[in-house]
Structure formats: structure tokens, C-alpha cells
């Protein structure tokens, strides 16, 4: 179509997508796809489906760790900040209390811990998920607007070593509860 693609033929296929109207059907379809040897599989649903991480063999604990480390960092920043400001840099005698009155530092240390942990959880969630991402090929799927409402989709990407346009489509068509199967372009 366009002139700058003239070196090699461009395959516009992104993958093949099956549509379901039931979360249980999607879950069993994801299991079936994995059993059939497909590895580049993704499921799309309007709400989280429990057991889907197992079906897709997806396990990632980086977010909890990032949150934990964020909290630890917040704790350190809070406490050391209080120590520096109220003991080292501006030692002010308040009613003869010791300068390093650490129990008085705990409430703010606690709040800083929570603040930094929460910021980490929030921003790492989006970062690890690769969001914001305004355009994604899956949006080309027919009826995909209903993926955020009441339909469930299973994608097998073209990058999957086992992908074959017609065979993958017939595999997906044979799944229980499937409504529609379509090949999606990038």
C-alpha cells in the first residue's frame, strides 16, 4: 500500500481472537489453549477472573516487591529527614526534651512509609502493565468495545511459534461457548 514498505512484504496480521459471552468459557478456553501448546496467549475480560493467572501461567511478584521497597524507602526518608531537621540542622530545645526524642518521630515516619509504598504500588502497576498506551492492536478486534462491558476475548498472537492462520482459527472455533473468531490486523 505505502511505498516505504517495498523491501519486504509486510504481514499485517496481529493474531486471531475468539469472542465469548461467559467468563467460565474464557477460563476453560485459556486452559485449552495452553494445553494445546500455545504460549503467546492473552485473555481480555471486563472484570478480573480468578484462576486466569494460573491458566496463562502468569506469575509476577515484582509489584509487591516494588511496593515493599518503596515503603522501606519512605520509612528511611521520613525518619532520617526528621533526624536531620530536628536534631542535626536545627536543634531547638523544647521544654528541655531530648533532641533525639525518637518516639515523637514515629507518626510522621509511619505516614511517609505508607505514602511512598502507595505511590510505588500505584505507579509501578501502570509501569509494569505498560500503560498508558493509547493504541493497541487488540482494539482492532470486531466488537472489542464490549470487552469492557460484557464480552470475553481470547487472543493467540501471530508471534506464537505454533501460530498458523487457518489452524489456529479452527482451534479457537472448536472451543466451548465461542461466539465469533476473527483474524485481527496490527
Amino acid at each position: 500500500m505505502s511505498s516505504h514498505h517495498n523491501h519486504e512484504p509486510v504481514d499485517p496480521t496481529f493474531g486471531t481472537v475468539a469472542e465469548f459471552d461467559d467468563p467460565d468459557a474464557l477460563l476453560s478456553a485459556a486452559h485449552r489453549a495452553h494445553e494445546a501448546g500455545f504460549r503467546h496467549v492473552e485473555a481480555y475480560s471486563p472484570f478480573p477472573i480468578h484462576g486466569m493467572d494460573e491458566a496463562l501461567k502468569f506469575d509476577d511478584a515484582r509489584l509487591p516487591w516494588a511496593t515493599f521497597l518503596g515503603g522501606l524507602g519512605g520509612c528511611a526518608i521520613g525518619f532520617l529527614g526528621l533526624y536531620y531537621t530536628n536534631v542535626v540542622d536545627y536543634p531547638w530545645n523544647v521544654g528541655g526534651r531530648p533532641l533525639f526524642s525518637w518516639p515523637q518521630f514515629l507518626p510522621i515516619t509511619y505516614e511517609c512509609t505508607i505514602l511512598f509504598a502507595a505511590l510505588s504500588a500505584f505507579f509501578f502497576q501502570f509501569a509494569l502493565n505498560g500503560l498508558p498506551k493509547p493504541y493497541h492492536s487488540i482494539f482492532n478486534t470486531p466488537n472489542f468495545a464490549r470487552a469492557t462491558q460484557d464480552r470475553f476475548f481470547l487472543l493467540i498472537e501471530k508471534t506464537d511459534p505454533q501460530y498458523d492462520s487457518s489452524e489456529t482459527a479452527s482451534f479457537l472455533s472448536g472451543l466451548r461457548g465461542v461466539i465469533n473468531v476473527s483474524e485481527v490486523e496490527k
Partner: protein, 501 residues
């Protein structure tokens, strides 16, 4: 299970509706239709315009009150010596307490796997954010020179000074700003999948673009959902201790002081319980009219109201216990100042406020022991207003009553609010209402994706219960059920049918 009904299936009555968290035969589609219709319908209902217009008047009162305050200083308020803390601090504590129910519903009930919260958490969280906005304005203005409020934060400055962190007032800065930030993050995180729903349903090109940008490209991928749920649970786990710490720190403002009536160890737990009590009351004050006005009775059911009333009863009893224990502490301390304070509360110049407090927060909520009254919507609504007043009176009793009669009789004074105290307080109410109704116009007030999840759980549960549609456990989802019993005494169909529609 997945029987289709027309989008507004409110008239289709196929099961007994008592004891259910989603009434009628809803599907993922019908729920999405009804909830997003509130936002996407081109013309909001008349009452929405009326409320927005009325509250906008009070937003202007609020702005005028602030302008005059900045021009003339805090002398326009009734604050004096010895009553240096008055409505500004009362209203700060009152508003921030109201916010706490939202966090309790969104975080603590989530961690306890109380899925019934799914239909009320969104607007309760919005109320949290707007209540904290209203609360935060007060101490910022009370500093007297709000244009240098940034001095509250530690930043390297040419004055060569740092804030003194041995004071609870400086802890407040961190507690309230952390609370606001975390509540906002949690709220936005919960909104992203629903904003994606609105993006996919909006027809107006501008709405499509706006929701499209705010949805950040959310596409509901399973791997995203896994991390999304991790983040939700982590934020819930962080918010739960946060909400307890915020009101504890607010109570330290008093408990660390030596003023009679303030220096007690019971303050943190009793402040937190009072906050939840007031917050649930406010959620019902707004929620009851909304569910009727927007046809959301299928999602915010009689059972929700019943359970929220039980939480109000429980927290109300803790608060009442706090009042009794304060009296006991005062008398038992043997300290003449504390004993004088007890006398002052019972027989002093402000005694009627104290009696009103005991009526509003101690006696009136006892009607919630009756299962029938918990399901009687007008009664519950009036009670929530009484509780709102009662919690305000509690802060009045604690703050000006103690300050006006401290240690030296030559120091004693009296406090009366001025016009500008009233203007600012009513102004914040206007601001709160205005923000809240703007919110329900642009964002879904019920969490749609969590409602779909709730529906799936109900369907699975019904399936397991052999499909006996009118089986008693049809609506029970949570492993722990408050109150436990089903369908006994007054929980009959007739009650629900009569009151709920």
C-alpha cells in the same frame, strides 16, 4: 443463570428480593447499561440541575467567606482567648471523620472479602476525597496567613529553620496530606476500568476523547488484571492502617495537650469509631436519595442499608461507651480540673449541647436494634441526619467547652460563633455537595467492574445451591456474615417490597 432481561429490568420480578445484594435478573450488560447511563445520558434529570444550582450558591458563600477572611484576618470568627480553637477545628475534625467511612468501605471491607461493598465503595470514596478537601481548608485558613501555608512543609529555606516535629500539629500535616494522596490514588485506580467502559460506550466525540485519555488505554488484559488486583490489594492494605492512624493523629492534637477533658488515652480509638459512625451516616444521607433518584435500588439494596445500619449501631455503641468512660475518667481521676469539667459538661453554660449530644449519638441510634426500623428508609435517613449533628456536637463539646473553662477561673471565657463561622461552614457543605454531584455526572458512582464480579460470584453461588431460586442463601456471598441470620423476623418479602420500591 445468564438470562437476558431488557436493559431496565426493574419490573421483572422473578425471585424474592430480600436478602440480596443485586436485585432482579441482571446481566453484565444490564448493569453496565444502568450505571453508565447515569453518566452518559445527554440530559441529566431536573433535580440534578436544582442541586447543582443550589450548591453553587453556597460555593459562592464559601468563596466570599474565604475572601473576607483573607482580607480581615481570623478576627472575623468568634475565636477568642481562651477559645482559640473553635469552629475551624470542630469542622476540620468533623469533615475528616466523615471521610473515613469511604476508606473503611473501600479498604477494610475489601480485605475482609465483604463483596457487598462493591456497590457503595465508589461514591463513598468520592465522599472521602471531597470531605478531606473541606477538612483541609480549615487548618490552612486557621493559620491566619494562608498565603504562607507552605511553611508547614519541610523545605530548605533562607530562614534557616525547620518545622518542630515534636508537635502533633505538624504530624497532622503529614497525616492529612498522605491520607488525601492515597485516597486519590486508590480512587483513580478503581476508576480506570470503568472509565474504559465509558470510553467504549460514549457516543459524543468529546466524551470519547476525554474518557479515552483518562482510561490510559486500559484493555482488560488478564495479565493487567493480575497486577491491577495486586495493586488494589496493596493499596487497601496500606489504606486500612492509614485511616486508623489519621484520626488517631487528629486525636493527638487534643490528647497530647493538658487541657481538662483532652488528656485521655481513650481519644484515638474513640475518635476512629466516631469517624466511621459519622461517615456511614453521611454515606446513607447521600446514598438513600440517590438510589431512589437514579433507579439504583437493584444495586444498593435493602440489605446494604440493613448492614450499614448495623455498622452504625456498632460504632455508635463504641462512641457512647467513650462518653460514659470520659465521665468515669473525670470523676475517678481525683483531679479537681477533670471533675470540674464533668460538672461543666452536665451543668455548665453549654449543658444543652451535651444533652443533645447524648441524645443524638447515644440514645437515637438505639432504634437500630429493630430490624424493621433498619429497613425503614425515611427513619434511617432522618437518623443519619441526627448522627451527623451529633458528631458535630461531640467536637463542640470537646473543643470550646474545655477551652472556655480551663485551669484558672480568671481565664474563663465564652464562645459564640459569628456570621462568618456559619458562612464558611455552610459554604463547605455547599462545596461538598457541588463536588459530589459533579462527580456523579461525569464518573460512574457505582463500581461497574466490581459489580460484574459480584454478579459472577452470586451466579456461582446460586449454582452451587442447586438452583433453588428462593433458597435462603441466595444473597449471602461473604464468608463472614454480619448478624448471620437469614430471613428471620421482619426480613420478609413484604417488608422489602413495600419499603424498597
Amino acid at each position: 443463570m445468564a438470562t437476558r432481561t431488557p436493559p431496565n429490568g426493574a419490573q421483572v420480578q422473578t425471585r424474592p428480593t430480600y436478602e440480596r445484594f443485586i436485585d432482579n435478573q441482571h446481566t453484565y450488560g444490564t448493569m453496565t447499561d444502568i450505571i453508565s447511563e447515569v453518566v452518559l445520558s445527554p440530559r441529566p434529570p431536573m433535580f440534578w440541575f436544582l442541586i447543582i444550582a443550589l450548591s453553587f450558591v453556597f460555593v459562592n458563600v464559601f468563596l466570599m467567606a474565604i475572601t473576607w477572611l483573607v482580607l480581615r484576618g481570623t478576627g472575623i470568627w468568634g475565636n477568642n482567648i481562651p477559645v482559640g480553637w473553635a469552629w475551624d477545628i470542630i469542622n476540620f475534625v468533623w469533615w475528616i471523620g466523615i471521610g473515613h467511612a469511604g476508606t473503611l468501605i473501600s479498604a477494610i471491607l475489601l480485605l475482609m472479602q465483604q463483596q457487598w461493598r462493591n456497590s457503595i465503595n465508589r461514591f463513598a470514596e468520592a465522599m472521602t476525597i471531597f470531605a478531606v478537601v473541606c477538612a483541609g481548608i480549615y487548618p490552612l485558613l486557621h493559620t491566619g496567613r494562608p498565603w504562607v501555608d507552605y511553611w508547614l512543609f519541610p523545605y530548605p529555606n533562607i530562614l534557616g529553620m525547620w518545622p518542630q516535629y515534636r508537635s502533633p500539629l505538624c504530624w497532622d500535616v503529614f497525616a492529612v496530606s498522605t491520607y488525601f494522596t492515597v485516597s486519590l490514588l486508590f480512587w483513580f485506580l478503581g476508576l480506570v476500568p470503568d472509565i474504559a467502559t465509558l470510553r467504549d460506550r460514549a457516543t459524543h466525540p468529546l466524551a470519547k476523547k476525554a474518557y479515552g485519555a483518562a482510561a490510559l488505554g486500559w484493555r482488560g488484559a488478564a495479565r493487567h488484571w493480575v497486577r491491577y488486583e495486586q495493586a488494589t490489594n496493596l493499596l487497601a492494605g496500606l489504606s486500612a492502617p492509614l485511616v486508623l492512624s489519621v484520626h488517631s493523629i487528629v486525636s493527638f492534637d487534643f490528647a497530647v495537650g493538658l487541657v481538662p477533658g483532652w488528656h485521655t488515652t481513650i481519644f484515638p480509638p474513640y475518635f476512629v469509631a466516631g469517624a466511621v459512625f459519622a461517615g456511614f451516616a453521611m454515606v446513607l444521607t447521600f446514598g438513600l436519595p440517590l438510589r431512589a433518584a437514579y433507579g439504583l435500588k437493584d444495586f444498593i439494596t435493602i440489605k446494604h442499608i440493613d448492614w450499614m445500619c448495623k455498622i452504625m449501631l456498632a460504632t455508635g455503641l463504641i462512641v457512647f461507651y467513650g462518653y460514659i468512660l470520659e465521665m468515669f475518667f473525670g470523676m475517678y481521676s481525683g483531679n479537681i480540673y477533670e471533675i470540674a469539667l464533668v460538672n461543666n459538661r452536665l451543668f455548665g453554660p453549654y449543658r444543652y449541647f451535651y444533652y443533645a449530644l447524648i441524645f443524638c449519638n447515644g440514645l437515637a441510634p438505639q432504634i437500630l436494634w429493630s430490624a424493621n426500623l433498619r429497613k425503614n428508609i425515611p427513619v434511617v435517613w432522618i437518623l443519619t441526619l441526627i448522627i451527623g449533628v451529633g458528631m458535630w456536637l461531640e467536637r463542640f463539646v470537646i473543643i470550646p467547652m474545655s477551652l472556655s473553662r480551663d485551669f484558672l477561673p480568671s481565664n474563663w471565657g465564652y464562645y459564640t460563633p459569628t456570621f462568618w463561622d456559619w458562612a464558611l461552614f455552610i459554604g463547605t457543605m455547599g462545596l461538598f455537595t457541588f463536588l459530589f454531584f459533579m462527580f456523579i455526572k461525569v464518573l460512574p458512582m457505582i463500581n461497574i467492574f466490581e459489580m460484574r464480579d459480584l454478579l459472577l460470584r452470586i451466579n456461582h453461588h446460586d449454582h452451587k445451591a442447586n438452583g433453588h431460586d428462593d433458597h435462603h442463601d441466595a444473597g449471602v456471598l461473604a464468608p463472614v456474615t454480619v448478624g448471620g441470620g437469614n430471613g428471620v423476623g421482619g426480613n420478609g418479602h413484604a417488608t422489602d417490597g413495600k419499603v424498597g420500591s
